[in-house]
């Protein structure tokens, strides 16, 4: 079903190839994060290899969003070191951090679209990090980026809707627009925070499969928090379970059963 969404895409050279095959996309070493008196993450370690699709599961309040924000410099760790795409966000100047962020896509539960603008305009905004000035309106973006926006909308299956207001699209379509916007960054790493939590089951699986397919084609790494067990097992290469600010499970998806993950959510879980 998703096979012919591809369109005229240039043959994908994994972007991660630039940094060399050995370099990890993400390395966390003994990372803790504290908000006031509340320590949310307690000294976690994690290595994510380029091209991996990692599902982050765990009950609400476990620290998944906090972890993802640590990865794009939205939060800085209280202790330990974070290395993302070869950079340490804590050591970046504001300018360097912006540069790093252009290489990291972020997909949100709430989409973060401007509802009164068209899908095309929202997608083009994904390229702002590579431009110098503010823009207003489709025609203020260079031809090259407009063509790229059309191509990305086609890849998520929304070519026809490109001139439609985003607030008139369905939830699943809106998340696809947000994914097309993310594609404009040609990111090496994509972080997704509960990207399908606001969608119905059919739209959820279809949006996640699109994300999976794009990551396989373009070779970007994905860390995606999810709370539906079946979805995590369906799309990921590896499942990392967070609970109480610690990783209580980290296994290849092929070797993980639903029971394993359900245990993570159980009232009095293992460990």
């Amino acid at each position: 079903m998703t096979a012919d969404l591809t369109g005229p895409v240039s043959p994908a050279i994994p972007r991660s190839a630039r940094t060399g095959p050995a370099a990890a996309s993400i390395t966390l070493a003994q990372v803790s994060k504290r908000f006031g008196d509340n320590e949310v993450l307690h000294g976690v370690d994690l290595t994510v290899r380029p091209g991996e699709f990692v599902a982050l599961v765990g009950p609400s309040g476990a620290g998944k969003s906090t972890l993802l924000r640590l990865l794009n410099g939205g939060h800085l760790p209280t202790a330990g070191t974070v290395e993302v795409l070869g950079r340490n966000p804590a050591a970046c100047s504001r300018r360097d951090l912006r540069e790093l962020r252009t290489r990291i896509g972020f997909v949100f539960q709430q989409f973060g679209l401007v509802g009164r603008l068209t899908a095309m305009e929202n997608v083009l905004m994904g390229a702002l990090g590579s431009l110098a000035m503010p823009r207003y309106g489709i025609m203020t973006y260079p031809r090259r980026l407009r063509d790229q926006a059309v191509e990305n909308l086609e890849r998520v299956g929304l070519l026809e809707q490109r001139f439609q207001r985003c607030d008139t699209l369905s939830g699943g379509q809106q998340q696809r627009v947000a994914i097309a916007r993310m594609l404009m960054q040609q990111a090496e790493l994509v972080l997704a925070d509960e990207p399908v939590a606001s969608l119905d089951p059919a739209a959820s699986i279809s949006v996640l499969q699109t994300l999976k397919k794009l990551s396989a084609e373009d070779g970007f790494t994905v860390v995606c928090s999810l709370h539906q067990v079946d979805l995590a097992l369906a799309v990921s290469d590896r499942v990392v379970a967070v609970r109480g600010g610690q990783f209580i499970m980290d296994t290849p998806t092929a070797a993980t059963t639903e029971q394993d993950i359900r245990a993570v959510y159980a009232e009095h879980g293992s460990r």
Partner: protein, 546 residues
């Protein structure tokens, strides 16, 4: 008792508890009582007696007699001034709209830059909101010389406060997700602001700016009274030379101009409302010559034309201001002298007296205006009084009376009755009546008529039905709108002294004219403090009631 169940009371008793009569907030009776007290004192201070009003009517009749037949003098020069009035308003509003954007972005609670920048921007918005355009005009005429430049700047500085306040509120109400999403792509804060915050605010901001333009045209019509250009210059000349027939002619020209604009603004607003309906259609653009280029439809053409026309008008308005580049160095010197003359500000008893008189005039006039406005509103609300012809006539009269700037009423009353707060009080009472009548009519139209009909059905009299069926629903908006009216009246009453109608305006103009800038500074500080304090008080009271 019959009306109690229909009263829209948010704090109705939870189910299961014994019904208690709803608690009436203390503010509901304390505020009217406060106004009553101030009004009685104000009537004594300003010397408002039925006899004085009757005698005044005779004087006004004699003045009107000297005004007929009105003449306009040479028409072309008058038309030039009319056009200049419009340019002043357009330039001033445009400048304010542009400058408000960065100011509001920094003043909003979502701003992440240095705290002191945020507080500076907030302070600028509060101060420029509190000081009326005419006061800025007096100061800018001193800096830039006579003419429309001073007028346009005066209009724009006051509007910065008004538009800035509104924009800040709009920015703060927005959900943060889109801005965060764009910031996460590595865009700069400025890029993220324009892409998400500003684009979302645009519909509300543009309709508010149009509304402000409407108000600024009224304001520009009287800036000439202090030499800041526009049609008011001709009025000032005519009155200065005691040529009352010509003054009457010019006043009529101003009223006609404002009526025409009222109509234009009504038509523009209606077409904008219709346009916003069509623009909610899901397809914003039709397909263009290729997939990445939107095509041209009538709607897009109309949008582009509207924007181009607005930009062209603004640029044309700027070009007519004839900025005196040769004298700009002088202006810098003047501004420097003025600002350094401000320190240290002096506060004298005269200043306190003037501000006190302004407040008293405003509050007393509000009380009279609210009572008269209520009567007019009841008479012109169809479902209360079934007299369509009377209602229509009253509503038309309110529109005309509201169209005339307060200071023109004040001019006429000063000419008829002599200098002093009585003239100012009368002018404010007229404008407050019209304003309150408009607010109250709107509120009464929106009241649920069911309780009224029910009471009439059980045989209650007209007055009984009104008191039990309408009044309880109406009280919150009555008090809220009354407070808002007195808020506007206070700003107006601060400038009426310019034409000798009492209050602080006279001393303010005198202090600038006699280069006593320390007093000017004292007055400005006092005025801002009082306006802001009363505004906060009114806001607090409104929250208590609504």
């Amino acid at each position: 008792m019959l009306a109690t169940p229909t009263r829209p009371d948010a704090r109705s008793a939870p189910p299961g508890t014994a019904p208690r009569p709803p608690r009436i907030p203390a503010a509901t009776w304390a505020i009217p009582l406060f106004y009553l007290g101030v009004t009685l004192f104000g009537m004594w201070w300003i010397d408002i007696r039925p006899g004085a009003i009757a005698a005044g009517l005779g004087d006004i009749a004699r003045l009107l007699d000297r005004m007929v037949p009105p003449t306009t003098g040479p028409v072309p020069s008058l038309l030039t001034l009319v056009v200049e009035t419009l340019w002043i308003a357009i330039a001033g509003t445009g400048i304010a709209a542009i400058l408000s954007v960065p100011l509001s972005a920094a003043a909003a609670s979502t701003y992440t830059g240095p705290r002191w920048v945020q507080w500076l921007c907030r302070a600028l918005i509060v101060v420029t909101r509190a000081v009326p355009s005419l006061v800025f005009a007096i100061i800018f005429v001193r800096i830039f010389g006579l003419g429309p430049l001073a007028g346009a700047l005066a209009v724009s500085v006051h509007s910065i406060g008004m538009i800035g306040k509104m924009m800040t509120d709009v920015f703060e109400e927005q959900s943060p997700q889109p801005r965060e999403a764009i910031a996460a792509t590595g865009a700069t804060r400025v890029q993220a602001f324009f892409a998400t915050t500003m684009t979302r605010a645009l519909p509300q901001v543009s309709s508010f700016v149009l509304y402000r333009l409407d108000i600024n045209i009224r304001a520009s019509a009287v800036l000439g009274l202090v030499g800041a250009g526009g049609i008011g210059v001709a009025l000032q000349t005519a009155i200065g030379s005691l040529d009352y027939r010509r003054a009457a002619g010019i006043i009529i020209v101003i009223i006609v101009l404002l009526m025409v604009l009222e109509l234009v603004s009504f038509l523009v607003q209606r077409s904008l409302a219709e346009h916003s309906d069509t623009s909610t259609a899901s397809q914003v653009f039709v397909p263009g010559k290729d997939a990445a280029t939107p095509g041209w439809s009538t709607a897009r053409g109309a949008r582009a034309l509207g924007v181009a026309a607005a930009v062209a008008l603004f640029l044309a308005a700027l070009s007519t201001l004839s900025i005196p580049f040769d004298r700009l160095a002088r202006a810098g010197e003047n501004a420097g002298a003025l600002l350094s003359g401000f320190v240290p500000p002096v506060f004298t008893m005269d200043i306190a007296y003037g501000i006190f008189e302004s407040v008293l005039m405003a509050l007393t006039a509000t009380s009279f205006g609210v009572v008269i406005g209520l009567i007019i509103a009841v008479l012109s609300t169809d479902h209360l009084v079934r007299a369509r012809a009377l209602g229509g006539a009253l509503r038309a009269a309110v529109v005309v009376i509201r169209g005339v700037p307060d200071i023109i009423y004040a001019l006429v009353f000063v000419a008829a009755l002599g200098l002093g707060p009585f003239a100012g009080f009368l002018a404010l009472a007229i404008s407050c009546s019209a304003l309150a009548a408009k607010f109250f009519t709107d509120a009464l139209q929106n009241i649920d008529p069911a309780p009224l009909r029910a009471l009439e059905a059980v045989g209650a009299g007209r007055l009984q039905a009104f008191v039990s069926g309408v009044w309880p629903q109406f009280v919150p908006s009555f008090i809220g709108n009354s407070l808002f009216t007195s808020d506007l009246a206070l700003r107006e009453s601060a400038v009426l002294g310019i034409v000798g109608a009492g209050g602080i305006g006279f001393l303010l103009q005198e202090s600038v004219a006699s280069v006593d800038y320390q007093t000017t500074a004292g007055i400005l500080i006092g005025l801002v403090a009082v306006v802001v304090a009363l505004e906060q008080l009114a806001r607090w009271a409104r929250r208590k009631v609504i």
